[in-house]
Symmetry: C2
Subunit: 431 residues, 2 copies
Amino acid sequence: MPIRLDNATTDFASKFKAFLAMKREVAADIETATRAIVDDVAQRGDAALLEATEKFDRLTLDAAGMRIGEAEVEDAVKACDPATIEALKLARDRIEFFHRRQLPKDDRFTDPLGVELGWRWSAIEAVGLYVPGGTAAYPSSVLMNAIPAKVAGVERVVMVVPSPGGTLNPLVLAAAQLGGATEIYRIGGAQAVAALAYGTATIQPVAKIVGPGNAYVAAAKRLVFGRVGIDMIAGPSEVVVVADKTANPDWIAADLLAQAEHDANAQSILITDSAVLAADVERAVASQLITLSRAKIARASWDEFGAIIKVARLDDAVALANAIAAEHLEIMTADPEAFAAKVRNAGAIFLGGHTPEAIGDYVGGSNHVLPTARSARFSSGLGVLDFMKRTSILKCGPEQLAALGPAAMALGNAEGLDAHARSVGLRLNQR
Amino acid sequence: MPIRLDNATTDFASKFKAFLAMKREVAADIETATRAIVDDVAQRGDAALLEATEKFDRLTLDAAGMRIGEAEVEDAVKACDPATIEALKLARDRIEFFHRRQLPKDDRFTDPLGVELGWRWSAIEAVGLYVPGGTAAYPSSVLMNAIPAKVAGVERVVMVVPSPGGTLNPLVLAAAQLGGATEIYRIGGAQAVAALAYGTATIQPVAKIVGPGNAYVAAAKRLVFGRVGIDMIAGPSEVVVVADKTANPDWIAADLLAQAEHDANAQSILITDSAVLAADVERAVASQLITLSRAKIARASWDEFGAIIKVARLDDAVALANAIAAEHLEIMTADPEAFAAKVRNAGAIFLGGHTPEAIGDYVGGSNHVLPTARSARFSSGLGVLDFMKRTSILKCGPEQLAALGPAAMALGNAEGLDAHARSVGLRLNQR
């Protein structure tokens, strides 16, 4: 049974607040264990990495065996269903098309004093891409992480993927090839994150690590943050569907379940001004649930975290959607654009009944790596800028220094930083 | 005595590698203590915050007394030297001018299939700005953090600044007013970070926290990361000066010392192809050091971390500068633009002899919050984008869904996510 809220009830505000504060994931206390693995790899390199792989992935390798070579990738591609490969290629092309538009422009300008200012963007040289093993190994995620890096101009895109017991998903290797990964290693867990951050004899270090992983991977990313860059720590996924009576309840139910099937901690929320629609959606969810192969996961998610929020007027949904700050926001109303214009906090917006989130997950072209668990209040989905950095540029001549120098000296002196003031004063032949 | 390296020596590569790996800061093991403070404020709110302020800042306040009101700010402004206020205003105007150019553009476009795609940028609603107390309270840093937030459109810019024993730097309050801070509280430490992240009865929570602080502040920011956004964890500052025989050794020495006076862990590095210049700079540093009010700090930094790297040819300095990835890179050569064009990793570049870093620290207009300790390899200085987030937009009609749907279904099925496939199939009247 999903959570039911109604903003016509008097205690709605406090109930909604409690709903927002609901924890869907308990942070495991694994930092000590993770730190031991990370430190061991940092100190002993390949030897520690291979031992951890033997222990956690039940896989005995030597240093040379960690690398997945081109021949192995080719064999994997041949083992895949050609129709799926074609679908991946379509996805690849569309993701690339979308992300090319995100390439930022450099700027250089001269202000009224004649000071030259500006900035220059450049790609990060080497990036690590973590890909989970097992059931969470999604080839689509490989594309979503690798392609923005390639579009940004990253030279080394180093993918790591654990192969527990030696098993690898061939589609993941196919996606790595299509996405342009430049190196692939069959390692995972905190040990792979450490290898990417510190480097080993076999694996050159990278400057940033992206991609989802389990709690150990997330903890390891937190630990190496600062030495290398990391992306957001991914939390459980969620969708909010805002709908009015014009929407199709079967379609909404299908979208809610598409979210719920990811993970028992996923969250699917319907906000509607129509009590009839709410009831129809709830019935449709129950009837569609039965036939899913991942029914158990989807049911756990829907029963514990699913929610139907009834609002008096559709406009009331704006503030709720902004407070929830959903990773995915689907708008199925008579005028979805009008509603979307009022939304400030959302990872991605899907407009109208013919834009199920699954299109965006795979082939829309926009990125499916999006801020989860209310983090859309302060962060964005993955994009080209995550693989670039900006260098600012400043250039004064003698006249500009003469114009700005006295103020800089005043501030340096006010902050008690004489050497700052003097570095200007010397050039102005003062003091 | 600074470190001396010469790329004409046979062991240069290994010595440079060791130089890069040198740790300038030992991470204190204070996470447990910090976590206790953060958890206490998260649970008990104002009461815990006031107790921690009494304990750590020796300051007894009630909840209402935490807020610094407009009258107190006005009084502080009146207590400041008017010339310094004018310098802050010049800085404010120039920082605003520079950062306005960073405002990103939204995008919306239709692809050849008729799919509508795009993204929209919006400001984070509320941001916390941590300002250190004591000697590290720099009014210039208040401007550098607050102004990009205001330019981005952040409504609430909530400044916290500890006042140990009740002492506050009036210039910090003046800068807060000039920078547009909307609320100011006289609290600091891990307890202030927790209050900003979790909110208390007195302080509404924010969505992101920026600004430098001591080890406890940094540890607290790490702990609340995910619940709120944070900026980079600032490390010790550094400058690299690349110079040839055309450069003025006194000016270089002054710039090296301006960096060194910040902190005993700061690092000042000269890279030059001129042995004569190297010797002249070293002498000039020694002679200028004596007269600095912060001579003890500057000397500690120069003696332990200062470095002079002699290269055979100026072009050899490019790879070294990129490997060091300095926060600040000054180029004083016959053709600084030519050298700068080859640099990939640097927080900010200062071109030519008339652009001392101090101009950029105060009044150049570019941001002085820059990536330290080699993090310019993967991150950028603070800017307007740090206070905004991007929402992606996707819109299909029936025809676009028909065109893309089969590929999305193929990938959903290949990933074992039936409900994803069905959310598309239902709309296409399949299964």
